[in-house]
Symmetry: C2
Subunit: 129 residues, 2 copies
Amino acid sequence: MSKNPKIDALSKFEWTIMNELWELENASARDIIDALPENSQRAYTTIQTYLERLVEKGYLSKKKAGNVNLYQTVIPRDEIVDGATNSFIERVFQGSGSSLAAYLIKNKQLRKDDLEQIRQILEEGDDDA
Amino acid sequence: MSKNPKIDALSKFEWTIMNELWELENASARDIIDALPENSQRAYTTIQTYLERLVEKGYLSKKKAGNVNLYQTVIPRDEIVDGATNSFIERVFQGSGSSLAAYLIKNKQLRKDDLEQIRQILEEGDDDA
DNA sequence: ATTCGTCTCCTACTTATGTAGTAATTTAGC
DNA sequence: GCTAAATTACTACATAAGTAGGAGACGAAT
């Protein structure tokens, strides 16, 4: 049932944690810490707090394995990415996805090789989409 | 000098306000309220609070015109959009702009005609980028 | 001049986010 | 069996974000 969390509601550092969880699947606080890059390190208990809060919010499930708590994502990453992206587009590009795309292409985000990559996706997806 | 605000730090409703300001240029609290859509209405003083906080943060300047405060954006929208987009890509698409682009293309955001539009941009920008 | 509406300024309260300490518990070594 | 390291559970505190009320000033209408 997982109290239907408001999609998009992840904060910056929550994203950091969640990204690890989606990667690791079923990890302990220690696992998370070990996986986090230097600049994302926090006190052990800080990580625990995030984990617990994410459980409360319905993003993670928790189960005990011996004495250790293991956490696991409840919602597929795609779904969260989708919500976050929609919300972002809404705010920043007044709801226009193509506007974002145009921005990406025109501004420094995409380089020559990226364009090539995207063109390839276009080539493939275009005919049967 | 405007105390160099952390780019990207705008919250959801701050975006709503700022979007109006970029549109209106130099507006009063009343102007903002009148411009906001139904579902973004708040108490008059709530809007005022947002405006004042945005001034503190260095996003807006304020000047009195008679008895009324007029607010004006300090930073061009493009710049803020840029910071927000970078930060978003960092979090959600692990820093890969092309990954976002691919997502946009593959998932519901872009339809056939959008693709055409983007392809045109690609055609043009490709050779001299 | 008194009143009404509007606006500013200041204050306040709630929930969320960021961050972490402490006490108690567990377990792995000696 | 006792100690050290790791972990959990609980508590705490600061700042940000969200939302708004009240007091007082000011200008317009009467």
